[in-house]
Symmetry: C2
């Protein structure tokens, strides 16, 4: 029911997902009377009727207390009981975060999930960026946990030994604020990580690292700056190409540039650190975008991401002091 | 002598500047034997021979101690004595920062300059972004000073009552880390500022504010993220337009998109908080770019920016507690 379009987006995305992944099942939580007839998937699609609805501006604490019959809570509860392997939602981040913590629970040692998104890189790979806004006041130990969680995330993408970097204002040692310098000292001496040093804001998309770690404040500003300027440049180019004859010539060109940073192509932000797989789809995502978020959840569930993260976090206390 | 190309960039830039501004004079500090004959400007261009040279990787503390006959120190000393109204340099930021503080001095209450750059906005205006990396550990009081300095900077551009915003992870009150929330409380109750609230990373270039304030860590990451994705998208478009017939059609289009975020068009970062005008030109800037930096210094000197900033900082203690 979440996202700007609700079932108009999620239902076609789910149908396409079931075709792409013939061995999966979907539990669709929502108001059954608003959903089309969906009995053509041989039992692989089950609608779970949830009468309650979250308001768009509902405060997380409020939702948590009064909306336990909402589709969001019921879907998260299904992850908690093991009935579902993952939950994907286009709902509000605040409510999703609060309900995820309450329904699914955090892994030991963590208070809030970190938000992680995979962005495409110029060489054709991808980079995991975290945290993107859930933790705006971080100490070095928390950045260290982000590094371990991000490495686990990239491993389920098939990157055997992910290169982990810290986002900083310079590439040389000695640069940065107190927290980043302290985090670098922790990462350098962690034998479970392939730490490659600092990267600057203009290097994130160039493929120098597989995981880029920052506090949620910096990561959020970086991601939104990237999205903002990409949208702006493409809008200007599209505007310049308004004449029809030009548009016909330029469309393939613009589309190829656009696809590189098309938000729907990297839709699906992972909430890392929970006891189960929870993925946030952007509220404005279309069916293709929601489908990407479903694929993210599928990959994370198959790769047993929460278990990997738990294993990586558990060795944190055992890290030797020198590398 | 600074920047990647030294006099090959600065000399033509200076010549063009003297043509644009017939009532100005230039003192050109450098190795006289490396400079072309420059006696055709009716006494408006004076070469000051400086035998010492800063090395590219020279440590600021080292430069400060041993390079007082360098062009950089001598030019800054000329600002300190009032012989020059402003200094523009393409040298290393670290050495420029250290020497500026030592030679020109900070205004009362400040320890280090804040770096401020004007970026073009989509509606065709400009936005001043600070700090861009000089102060990576900031408290709310320092962000408050940045706000006052940024407002003064935009005033010398002719913006009578600049709208000042704080860079944050959300636009609503209650969002952000501890420092940003505390800074918002200070800015809200400062009657000398037109504080308009929070802006997010994707709003900076949309013209919602005239001044956007952040700590140097966040500002640096934001600026570099913007520059990085702009360069990347334009390189991809250029690559796609490699065929000659396409290139001919596309060049005007790309150039108009490029000019929007062409670094040479917003070259010239101001070091705010010093007792005089000091502007940093990007090391890779060409003659046109260095010319923009000269124009920035010219505008700031004519607008008596250091005096404006000093006046704004002086009232800081007198601000009433409620707006």
């Amino acid at each position: 029911m979440g996202g700007d379009q609700g079932p108009a987006t999620t239902v076609p995305a789910v149908a396409a997902f079931l075709r792409r992944h013939p061995h999966t099942r979907i539990l669709l939580f929502g108001a059954a009377r608003e959903l089309p007839s969906l009995d053509c998937y041989g039992g692989r699609l089950t609608v779970v009727d949830c009468p309650q609805r979250l308001d768009a501006d509902e405060r997380p604490a409020q939702a948590l207390r009064h909306k336990r019959e909402s589709s969001l809570w019921r879907a998260l509860a299904a992850v908690a009981t093991g009935e579902a392997a993952a939950c994907v939602s286009g709902g509000e981040t605040g409510a999703l975060m609060a309900m995820s913590i309450a329904a699914v629970g955090m892994l030991p040692g963590l208070v809030r999930p970190a938000i992680c998104t995979l962005l495409p890189t110029a060489p054709g790979g991808r980079v995991g960026l975290l945290d993107l806004g859930a933790n705006v006041d971080c100490d070095a130990e928390l950045l260290h946990q982000f590094a371990r969680m991000g490495a686990a995330r990239l491993q389920v993408e098939g990157v055997a030994n992910p290169r982990v970097a810290l986002l900083n204002v310079g590439a040389e040692g000695g640069k940065g604020n107190r927290v980043v310098k302290a985090a670098a000292a922790l990462l350098e001496t962690d034998p479970s990580l392939r730490y490659t040093g600092f990267v600057e804001g203009d290097q994130v998309l160039l493929g120098a690292a597989d995981v880029v770690v920052s506090d949620g404040f910096v990561g959020n500003v970086a991601l939104k700056s990237i999205e903002g300027v990409a949208r702006l440049l493409l809008a200007r180019l599209r505007g310049s190409a308004a004449a029809i004859w030009r548009r016909r010539l330029l469309r393939p060109l613009l589309d190829s540039a656009l696809s590189f940073l098309d938000p729907s192509q990297y839709n699906g932000a992972s909430l890392l650190g929970l006891g189960g797989v929870v993925v946030k789809s952007h509220g404005a995502a279309d069916a293709a975008g929601f489908g990407y978020a479903l694929d993210v959840a599928h990959t994370e569930a198959l790769g047993q991401l929460p278990e990997r993260i738990a294993a990586r976090l558990a060795v944190a206390g055992d890290a030797p002091a020198a590398g």
